[in-house]
């Protein structure tokens, strides 16, 4: 055995030390590269969530998007009609408990309800076998963008101008010009009026998924829920009332449950599964899988939906993600947003403090 201290330094020995240094250094560099630390321009979940947070300001404890909302709960009563297409136990003729959340988009939990026509419904189905189905749906029949990169650019283009508090119209126009795929969404947004109720809206899953039947056959699908209630006559809310949606849900639920039908639309060959900006033709077969019954509501800062991450890739056996590039991006970004807000709730070191709501409230 050689003792390094007894042998005179030789070039060979130097090379050996270099070999050691290079091996260890390369491993460390590869790790940093994979983590994205060496590539500040790579689109990461954290960068998307930072951009959302920059637009709305920091509201500790709240979701970084769809921050304003209300928790609801009830159940899904399956008809069994979807069982031939999917082996998921939620489609057997059974009743599955649901924890949901109505919301409006944006990272500001105090935004006025009338400021956007978009409303959303997120659901978590707790299947009897312990599996879960989580979904987040919007009331627009198409999404504005098809890729996470375009979503990110849209968030950047919508950044409020500090002078006016509103997005710069020139930047938005430039974004839309560069993204013709947003056309269908913009057409919808032009005519859509902010609804007076969450209870009267259609909510679309927008992304495509696969239903997988007991013979392991895949069926490309998009889902939506269609309301039984249609009367959204502005239920006596004052013109300056910016929090009417939650009150409306409370009033309606005091009268009785709210109901939606869950429609599963099956794709025909060739229908795009990777582009949420394109609706499928209206004549596609839809299966009425059952009734969603919402019975109760709770405030979102203490309700059961608060600590749920409505990651749309949490799916039971019998449903799977498609090649839609928005799905993995949503999963990654929602996890990042969820970690930030749960850290804030936990009072973890370095996490922004969750203020009393009144103190946090901005005019």
């Amino acid at each position: 055995m050689l003792d390094p201290l007894d042998t005179p330094p030789s070039p060979r020995l130097a090379w050996r030390w270099i070999t050691i240094g290079v091996t260890v250094g390369l491993l460390a560099a590869a790790f940093a590269y994979v983590a994205g630390w060496l590539t500040p321009r790579r689109l990461t979940p954290a960068r998307i969530v930072n951009a959302l947070q920059d637009n709305s300001g920091l509201h500790p404890g709240f979701r970084r998007n769809h921050a304003k909302g209300v928790c609801v709960s009830g159940y899904f009563e399956s008809t069994g009609a979807a069982a031939p297409y999917s082996s998921a136990s939620v489609f057997a003729p059974v009743r599955t408990p649901v924890v949901g959340r109505f919301a409006i988009p944006g990272g500001n939990p105090y935004a006025p309800d009338g400021g956007t026509p978009i409303r959303s419904l997120a659901l978590r189905f707790n299947l009897a076998d312990g599996q879960q189905w989580r979904t987040g749906m919007n009331n627009s029949p198409v999404f504005a963008v098809a890729t996470p990169q375009a979503f990110y650019e849209q968030v950047l283009a919508s950044r409020p101008d500090p002078a006016t508090g509103k997005p710069d119209p020139a930047k938005l126009a430039a974004f839309f010009a560069a993204h013709p795929e947003t056309a269908a969404f913009r057409t919808w947004a032009k005519t859509a009026k902010p609804s007076a109720s969450f209870g009267t809206e259609n909510y679309y899953g927008l992304n495509a998924f696969y239903l997988i039947d007991t013979a392991s056959q895949r069926h490309a699908v998009r889902w939506r829920v269609v309301p039984e209630a249609h009367d959204d006559s502005p239920s006596a809310h004052a013109a300056d009332d910016s929090d009417y949606l939650t009150r409306d849900v409370q009033q309606r639920l005091a009268q009785g449950p709210l109901r939606w039908h869950l429609l599963l639309t099956l794709a025909a060959p060739g229908d795009p599964t990777n582009d949420a900006t394109q609706a499928w033709p209206a004549d596609r077969t839809s299966v009425d899988a059952g009734t969603l019954v919402i019975e109760r509501e709770q405030a979102q800062d203490s309700g059961d939906c608060r600590d749920i991450n409505y990651d749309p890739t949490v799916l039971p056996h019998g449903i799977a993600i498609s090649d839609d590039p928005l799905l993995p991006a949503r999963s990654a970004a929602y996890a990042d947003s969820y970690l930030r807000r749960t850290n804030e709730e936990a009072g973890a070191p370095g996490a922004p403090h969750v203020d009393a709501h009144s103190a946090e409230r901005k005019p």
Partner: protein, 203 residues
């Protein structure tokens, strides 16, 4: 007292298998939280079952380690190096058990169903609790960084034994080395350093 100059063949096989798997898991982990591409979803689908497989292997490995005394470190190694070697080995054993357990626990506390593949679900080991989730999720991240740093030190030390000291310590864990047996003058319960993730180098 006569002890073996090399680790038990099963221990060596486990060592190199787990070295590959654990390094892969560290890269899969930071890779999936650092991307919004479809890689995120399929890496996550690999991450959970592979992590739990590592937990099983780690239990097996620790059982072998506690039953069979490993080869001793060379008697002329400085005390601080022996100390560092032992401390880092126990840290590595601790982390290969703790990382998967924390991953499992944090997913339980976050209220996620823990699916291994599309149909197979393992039960939650903690009740749903968001604050607990946050602490465990942060621990999963920072202990992963500590794991990587410890592994880097371990790789460096193994190569130091293989290339600079050339004292047989690396050989004791290398694959394809026959156990020759050797007479130990020193039975101080000193353990042999384990070799690592870099390819064995012929000396």
């Amino acid at each position: 007292m006569t002890t073996s100059a090399t680790f038990h063949p099963l221990a060596r096989l486990l060592h190199w298998t787990m070295a590959l798997l654990i390094l892969a898991m560290l890269f899969i982990g930071v890779g999936m939280v650092g991307t919004v591409s479809p890689k995120h979803s399929w890496l996550l689908a690999i991450h959970r079952p592979l992590g739990l497989a590592i937990l099983l292997l780690a239990v097996m490995r620790l059982t072998i380690r506690l039953r069979r005394r490993p080869p001793a470190l060379p008697g002329d190694m400085p005390r601080w190096q022996c100390y560092l070697a032992h401390a880092s080995h126990w840290l590595l054993y601790g982390l290969m058990l703790a990382m998967p357990l924390i991953g499992w626990a944090m997913q339980s506390a976050g209220g996620y169903p823990i699916m291994l593949g599309d149909a197979w679900r393992v039960p939650a080991i903690l009740p749903e609790n968001a604050a607990l989730f946050a602490w465990l999720r942060e621990a999963h991240r920072y202990l992963a960084y500590l794991f990587l740093l410890t592994i880097l030190g371990h790789v460096g030390a193994a190569l130091y034994h293989a290339l600079i000291r050339r004292d047989g310590v690396f050989q004791s864990m290398a694959l394809g080395v026959r156990d020759r047996g050797r007479v130990e003058e020193d039975t101080d319960l000193v353990e042999e350093a384990e070799a690592t993730t870099s390819p064995p180098r012929p000396e």
